[in-house]
Symmetry: C2
Subunit: 179 residues, 2 copies
């Protein structure tokens, strides 16, 4: 993203977090990651991420999504004999469609922009409303999209090392903050 | 607690959770633990606990406390070669005084009822306001008290097995829900 676009994207993400009633420190807001995954199409494929905790064992994050924004298909592989991340997504605000390995759901509710249709291949649908959550085993392909209200999701997981993530769309280049 | 007292205590805890803006499922509210740690003095020593996730690796809970309520001094020991729980407390609502091993703070802010004065022996004070958090290494003695507004805390940790907890006050008997 250009600098000006990034500033606006950051402000949109901050607004979503602030509307969630959750309280963040000034430093957490400053350190927040706002990523377009290198595709320069933030409102289609992007995410805002605040990392609370990332010890050797445990990680907790809050994720914010603009309306219909997609977190692209990825998985967390084993790295150097360390098992990939196990993660639980808990919806706090808005509604999220989560897709994982498994029997494909017919007529999925997500809206994938045409130019990305070939960038997704798991379509087992889980609908998360506020208070709903879902735990992914390590090495599960997954992606998710917010509904029209945008969304805030909490993520509870084992240690996060997002630089090791594998994306299904090979055009994606991400320089994450949690390493 | 008597059944009637327990019902009132539950409703007080539910009110604190509801005022936090966080959304819980009906089942989470029903499964919520409201404990007086066996001391029958809930508003002095007690806690409300909603467990979201407790996999082999990761646990996430929300804790609610009434005004000036204390979670008594305890630690999470190693059990059968498995390292004790590492936990991070993040204050969401209200203000919490957390006490851990370390150089004792002079004139601590907590108010310990006289009859429990001998039931605490770690006094290194950490003040948690909304958005503040603190990570405890395994096997750290700790206790905490809410301020007059009560409090909601998130706890992110490794697997939780509270039946193994060691309490400094030997009168405490707890039958937790997370095992």
């Amino acid at each position: 993203m250009q600098e000006k676009e990034l500033l606006i994207a950051r402000q949109n993400i901050i607004n979503i977090f602030k509307a969630s009633c959750m309280v963040f420190t000034q430093k957490e807001i400053e350190d927040m990651e706002v990523t377009d995954f290198g595709l320069n199409d933030f409102y289609s494929i992007g995410l805002g991420i605040i990392i609370y905790v990332n010890t050797e064992k445990v990680c907790a994050k809050e994720l914010a999504m603009t309306p219909f924004q997609i977190c692209p298909q990825h998985m967390h592989p084993n790295i150097d004999g360390v098992e990939g991340k196990e993660e639980t997504f808990r919806c706090r605000v808005g509604e999220v469609y989560l897709y994982v390995n498994g029997f494909p759901t017919e007529n999925i509710k997500a809206r994938i922009p045409d130019k990305y249709l070939k960038k997704f291949n798991v379509f087992h649908e889980i609908i998360l409303k506020p208070g709903d959550q879902y735990t992914l085993k390590p090495q599960t392909w997954h992606w998710f999209q917010a509904r029209e209200e945008g969304a805030v999701l909490s993520e509870f997981s084992t240690h996060s090392f997002d630089a090791g993530d594998i994306f299904y769309d090979k055009n994606i280049k991400r320089i994450p903050k949690d390493n």
